[in-house]
């Protein structure tokens, strides 16, 4: 098929619920690229030129946008930018890729012991908590300060040049986490569940604090990455990885108000918002219909993991762009034929009228077969013409 739009134009059309020349495609390739190109986690995190070069070598599996791995900036910075990164990750990871090393993984443990203490003294109570993995403290203060204030500029410069050279937009410029995402890792799912039932006022109180904090940090990050100048840097990647299995009451009371407030804040300040929301949110689609209330068209994308995409299209398709959701297990253990079949179905279910980006569920597992990820890109080219 002949492609008549640039990648950025194609993606913008989808965000604005217009049909492009074809369905845009954009697997969320985070750790797989350094893995395929033989980088260590350390190189991936600390040498952005190498990461950008590796990404350039993997454009065949990237489709219409690339992941600048803003998450690495969050892992390195000091003051709790998307704070769970420092608080809960395994810091022993950096010299190798798996199986010798590991990608950052969450330790579920109760780090935040006292809501009132955090409310009174701020995030230092989390970040300098004795329960945090001790390797965090092996880094010097000057090291933290460098990665907080200097390194983001270096990092941004590398990606700005990359976008100019390859004419491919970034999938995000800044990153924020929903308070429940953070609380799941600070408190653990068991304790958070108890909190929601037994001390809901504390969960609300800290959610108010966190949503403001996360929003401001994400917008600053996007500005450093070139929002307004670098295509895609104006996108805030708004994450919720947990907790799984919220009832409608819990979703409506503890998740939705803060999600909507953050989205409104971002959009009213000129950013676009990519809601990267894991788990199966199908029971909550009716509440999510209000996502665009009071906001201009074309500013929100829902990047869904296990949610039923066909139902999402039926309920939300007239108001937000949808992105998703080829299963991770299929990318690792399936065949290109499996992936093609799944993608074809997703396109049939979701692409009509525009407003759909074909992608992975959450991120592409690093151990996915390259030909399977490539099959996603090819499926958009094969079946996605409008």
């Amino acid at each position: 098929m002949s492609e008549t739009m640039t990648r950025y134009e194609r993606l913008l059309a989808a965000w604005e619920l217009r049909e492009a020349d074809r369905v845009p495609v954009a697997p969320i390739n985070c750790y797989i690229i350094p893995y395929l190109e033989g980088l260590s986690i350390r190189e991936m995190f600390l040498e952005p030129e190498k990461l950008a070069r590796a990404t350039a070598s993997c454009l065949d599996i990237c489709g219409d946008e690339v992941d600048p791995n803003i998450t690495t900036l969050d892992h390195l910075s000091l003051f709790g930018k998307s704070g769970w990164d420092q608080a809960t990750l395994d810091w022993r990871i950096w010299d190798d890729f798996p199986p010798k090393g590991n990608i950052p993984s969450f330790y579920e443990k109760t780090i935040l012991e006292d809501y009132d203490d955090v409310m009174n003294r701020g995030f230092s109570t989390i970040l300098f908590n004795r329960r945090i993995f001790k390797d965090v403290f092996r880094r010097s203060l000057s090291d933290f300060l460098y990665y907080e204030f200097e390194y983001p500029k270096i990092y941004s410069d590398v990606w700005r040049k990359f976008v100019e050279a390859y004419e491919i937009p970034l999938l995000m410029g800044g990153r924020a986490c929903h308070p429940l995402d953070l609380l799941q890792y600070y408190r653990g799912i068991n304790q958070l569940t108890e909190d929601i039932f037994e001390r809901p006022e504390k969960v609300h109180e800290i959610s108010e604090l966190m949503i403001e904090y996360e929003s401001v940090r994400a917008m600053e990050q996007a500005m450093i990455m070139g929002a307004g100048e670098v295509p895609g840097a104006e996108i805030i990647f708004f994450v919720n990885g947990g907790p799984p299995g919220m009832s409608p009451r819990i979703f409506d009371e503890f998740f939705w108000p803060y999600a909507k407030r953050a989205i409104d804040n971002f959009v009213k300040r000129g950013f676009r918002v990519r809601c990267h929301w894991d788990n199966d949110l199908t029971p909550h689609l009716k509440t999510m219909k209000h996502i665009t209330d009071g906001l201009p068209k074309g500013k929100i994308l829902l990047d869904l993991e296990k949610t039923d995409m066909k139902k999402a299209k039926e309920i939300l398709g007239d108001r937000v762009c949808l992105l998703g959701n080829v299963p991770s297990a299929m990318l690792v253990y399936g065949t290109p034929e499996d992936v093609e079949k799944h993608c074809r179905k997703l396109i049939e279910d979701c692409a009509e009228g525009g407003g759909f980006v074909l992608s992975t569920e959450c991120e592409t597992p690093w151990d996915s077969k390259r030909e399977n990820v490539r099959a996603i890109v090819e499926a958009a080219e094969k079946y996605g013409a409008y």
Partner: protein, 211 residues
């Protein structure tokens, strides 16, 4: 259902604990109280399976059950001295994976269902699983993992159990985010699932078949 199981189903901890205290004060049989609590828990599980209740509610019902069980425990210990245990399950997140969330939920639910849990923690080596079986003699081994990379490790863990000559002694279940999408035969397990409640049911069935 009685007041106690209704209150568990309603996720009302105060009512549950009040009903337990009342029951104990009135001299009700401790095992009856436990079973009535369990009936409430079962109803939550059934509604969860039907899609009418959600994981956090399932977890909450288990938390309330555990609180109730704490009040009842001294009486049950007097009475049956451990006979309540349906079986022993060895749990662990496999080597290379440190995710605890799913395993924690399963552990809580299993405990409430009347199983004894030996939790080996996270990043558990194949050898530690083997030693765990030798030392604790479980009927069931539960391997947990969130990452796609954990799936081959689960296969290696089962292989290590096989090589140690212990495979015939245990049923093996694997669970986690994407694990349920993988056929059990691929890792030589007896069952794979991403649904905690389904896992509990399967383990209960296995143990009932053995009895």
């Amino acid at each position: 259902m009685g007041k106690l199981s209704d209150s568990i189903f309603a996720l009302n901890k105060e009512l549950v604990l009040d009903a337990v205290r009342e029951g104990l004060n009135a001299g009700r049989d401790a095992l009856d109280l436990i079973e009535e609590c369990r009936a409430g828990l079962q109803k939550v599980g059934d509604e969860f399976e039907r899609g009418n209740m959600f994981l956090m509610e399932l977890l909450r019902s288990a938390q309330i059950f555990k609180e109730a069980a704490k009040l009842i425990a001294p009486k049950t210990k007097e009475k049956c001295q451990g006979k309540l245990v349906k079986g022993r399950v060895l749990l662990g997140t496999v080597s290379g994976d440190v995710h605890d969330l799913g395993k924690g939920i399963v552990s809580t639910l299993l405990e409430c269902a009347g199983f004894e849990i030996i939790d080996l923690g996270v990043d558990v080596s194949q050898n530690d699983f083997v030693e765990g079986i030798r030392n604790h003699g479980p009927q069931v081994v539960g391997m947990s993992g969130l990452l796609t990379t954990s799936i081959p490790v689960m296969g290696k863990t089962v292989q290590a159990i096989e090589e140690a000559g212990l495979r015939e002694k245990v049923k093996v279940i694997a669970g986690g985010g994407v694990v349920g999408e993988v056929d059990a035969s691929k890792i030589k397990a007896d069952f794979t699932t991403s649904n905690a409640n389904e896992g509990i049911r399967v383990i209960e069935r296995w143990l009932a078949e053995r009895a």
